[in-house]
Subunit: 154 residues, 2 copies
């Protein structure tokens, strides 16, 4: 089997390992791995609209909404009317949410350490760069759209 065929499965296996470890660790703190990502996204970009939040995570707007409802119930986030755009709602961490984020961030420290320590510092940088390129290529739909000429379509 060649590299091209292996890359998707290798990516999946690495992510799943990270996700499972994170979920298990974070469960002791009452949040899921995905909820943590949402909190982390808010922590570096208050106060986003739900749509901006979904784009940055990245995730689906309706998925994000379902997550926000849960997190609001726990008192970690607060949704408010947008100051200038009447359609939009801003999302921000509450005090409790900020504290929770910091708590969980610390809880995940050893997992991040373990990941990075398994490879060298320069390899870590390379890995991040390559992952970003791959992610970007997959997000770019336009390239795919132009592959099939109109005359070959049904």
């Amino acid at each position: 089997m060649n590299t091209k065929d292996e890359l998707p499965l290798a990516l999946r296996a690495a992510y799943h390992a990270l996700h499972r470890r994170s979920d298990t660790r974070f469960a002791e703190h009452g949040v899921t791995a995905d909820q943590f990502v949402l909190l982390a996204t808010l922590a570096r970009g208050d106060a986003l609209t739900q749509r901006e939040l979904a784009t940055r995570m990245p995730s689906d707007p309706s998925t994000v909404r379902a997550m926000l409802v849960l997190l609001e119930k726990s008192g970690y986030v607060l949704r408010d009317n947008h100051p200038s755009d009447g359609r939009a709602r801003t999302v921000a961490l509450t005090k409790k949410g900020t504290a929770k984020f910091q708590e969980v961030w610390k809880a995940g420290q050893s997992i991040r350490d373990q990941m990075v320590n398994s490879i060298s510092a320069s390899e870590s940088k390379t890995l991040v760069v390559l992952l970003r390129k791959v992610a970007e290529s997959l997000a770019d739909f336009s390239r795919v759209m132009t592959v099939t000429p109109p005359e070959n379509r049904n």
Copy 2:
């Protein structure tokens, strides 16, 4: 923000992009991205027990069972008694399942191409190697276990 802190999110973003693209593409063929991974795992290792299947995917045994029930309903897989181990059941692709796998494999060709073409051939190899190292480090629980000395535990 340093590399250590960025790596988990970069990994997540890349995987999510792949997963969403795959799910959308594969939906036209009646399978999910995760079901495709299961079919692919069976395609290169007939006939596994459910436990072996879960380990290789990787996934949880009860998750795999839920997926198998769905795939069995669609007629893609068949579970049979293990020849020597009375507890175990073997899982194999049916003829229909093999054909479906090949069909979906082709459908995913352009996605795999797009991923690999966004970086050089040597970078692809590097990426796979690094992802495997990271995945392995996260699967290794023993290292974490020994971090906290018994006297510091509650």
